[in-house]
């Protein structure tokens, strides 16, 4: 190819042209090669993410196998967790996780829905909206460990006083209740911001039809806006739940870290995440560590499933 382009040495502009054509073609080939290398690099980056997730799942499973094989289903139902005696019943942690997460959700829903309606319907713009929006974003930005520290220093003494007033057995202040309170504050932003987006998406002309029929503002919200966003709000609640389930630090610091099955809401307890955080570095036996990893696997599966369902609902909603 190159020989056919080699012109005789004639001192004329033709020489320069053919030489630069040669250079350009060589450069083009190089660039074409670089293009495909680059495209492959991009694909590798994408592949890396998939491998990452698969690797995480694989590691969790393989590290849980000793515990799964040894303990079987007793792991889930057993309500005694005594590593010293090699007894691993995780039910107290499942209960702790469910209690704190659902209680936190129940507490936060009225506030999240109120924020969503406030920002989505009453004041989408303006001074009020900016203040509230920033406040909600701030709530999401404060690190978990700071929530925990504040909870320990301020909330726990208040709860302890409350418990004493109610005549609770051992007014510790730490416990399921305190953990739920802190958690409820932390998950407000998730349902609120999603709910707000969904509410803003209700088409104006449907609201107009309702106003035209003589509805009050609240009636429009109740009969037109909210029914239209039911699935969106549900997805937001799911995502908040997912967040609550995985929250570790703040919960660890105020839940009391007790492996005994909690008798009531004021009792100390543990969640799956907090027991891992507390006991991981102390797990000296293989089965002990493997049991903790099994908890991690359970946590992984539950949060992933909840998040995927939530996202699918949102996708379907935004594409309708």
């Amino acid at each position: 190819m190159e020989t056919s382009l080699q012109a005789p040495v004639i001192p004329s502009p033709a020489v320069k042209d053919t030489v630069s054509i040669r250079k350009r073609i060589r450069r083009s080939f190089r660039q074409i090669r670089m293009e495909s290398v680059f495209k492959q690099t991009l694909a590798i980056a994408g592949l890396l993410l998939v491998i990452l997730v698969l690797g995480i799942l694989l590691t969790l499973i393989t590290q849980s196998i000793p515990s799964i094989r040894l303990l079987g289903l007793k792991f889930i139902w057993g309500s005694t967790w005594n590593p010293v005696k090699d007894v691993y019943g995780a039910f107290p942690f499942l209960l702790g996780t469910l209690l704190t997460s659902f209680l936190a959700l129940v507490i936060c829903i009225p506030f999240s829905v109120a924020i969503a309606i406030f920002l989505g319907e009453y004041y989408p713009t303006g001074w009020f909206a900016d203040v509230l929006k920033n406040a909600v974003e701030l709530i999401a930005a404060v690190p978990s460990v700071i929530y925990g520290f504040w909870g320990l220093a301020v909330l726990v003494p208040m709860v302890r006083a409350l418990e004493a007033r109610f005549g609770v057995d051992q007014p510790l202040g730490v416990g399921i209740f305190s953990a739920s309170l802190i958690l409820s504050v932390m998950i407000i932003p998730y349902a609120a911001s999603l709910g707000r987006q969904m509410i803003r998406m209700v088409p104006e002309h449907l609201k107009e039809a309702a106003y035209g029929l003589g509805a009050t503002r609240w009636e429009v919200i109740r009969h037109v806006v909210l029914p239209g966003t039911k699935s969106g709000l549900f997805a937001g609640i799911l995502l908040s739940l997912g967040r609550a389930l995985g929250e570790t630090m703040a919960v660890t610091m105020v839940i009391g870290n007790s492996s005994i099955l909690p008798k009531n809401l004021f009792a100390p307890g543990n969640t799956m995440a907090s027991v891992i955080a507390n006991e991981f570095t102390e797990a000296d036996k293989t089965v002990y560590l493997s049991a903790l990893i099994e908890l991690g696997l359970a946590l992984f599966l539950v949060t992933v499933i909840i998040n995927i369902i939530g996202k699918k609902i949102i996708d379907r909603f935004t594409n309708e």
């Binding site: 660039q31 293009e35 991009l42 694909a43 980056a45 994408g46 592949l47 890396l48 993410l49 998939v50 990452l52 997730v53 690797g55 995480i56 590691t59 506030f111 109120a114 924020i115 309606i117 406030f118 009453y122 509230l132 406040a135 701030l138 709530i139 930005a141 404060v142 690190p143 978990s144 460990v145 700071i146 929530y147 925990g148 520290f149 504040w150 320990l152 220093a153 301020v154 504050v185 009050t216 609240w218 009636e219 919200i221 997912g242 995985g246 929250e247 570790t248 630090m249 610091m253 995440a273 955080a277 991981f280 570095t281 991690g296 946590l299 992984f300 949060t303 992933v304 998040n307 995927i308």
Partner: protein
Amino acid sequence: MRTDNIQYRIGKSKGFKILTFVLAFACMIPLAAILFFIIKAGITRINFHFLVNIPRPVGEKGGGIANALLGSVIIIALASFIAIPIGILAGVYLSENKKGRLAYWCRLSVDILQGIPSIVIGIIAYFWLVKPLGGFSAFSGSVALAIMMLPVIVRSTEETLKMLPPSLKEAAFALGMPFHRVIFKVIIPVGISGILSGVMLSIARITGETAPLLFTAFGNPYLSADVTAPMQSLPLLIFNYATSPYNDWHDLAWGASLILLIWVLFLNVFTKLISARWKVQL
């Protein structure tokens, strides 16, 4: 007949508006309480010595959080170094490939990663790096944090690039530019604010993370810049010292909390400013 309950309905509508208002702004009460308390408790502890000294043994007065400050900076920098290139490349890949099997699984993986609890990521980093390498290290902590940064960076890069007009890319190609040049010299520079805000957001997110570092970076009472050794970080220090029984250490934790809070807030505000500018440009 039908008009006698109108006053009631009007009252109900007004009542709900007030209820919504009250509930919405009620969430600001705990926020204000936390901010106020942290500022009050922390502001007295912070001075120059606090920032440049390492913690003293229990019982000795003074001491600071220099090791945690340096440690946080190093760990975050290293995590960013790992996560940013991979994240941006993956984001570019997804924006260029709207359909396709790999793109589908990649997107699913990003969604999954975003939902994984941070403590589980800590477990993973432990088994992938701490156990094989025989000890805790800042490096393993950075990897854990990098894994957490990835979904945010990939998402925001993909969203940013998707919003660019296709005519931009077409114009570049029509000029004969090769693909990698189009991406690096045209697409990314135009979308840089959006990508940057995604990066800043991910950094803001991991700055306050503690759980992934619990059994990776682990913490270190001494000033160290060795990434192959355990290292202290600000949230770790707060956690360890806040849950300790010593008042001196509680003091340290308060000061550290204030510093961490300011740092995180600053990052968030900075991110907002960048993304606001980007929206205006568009």
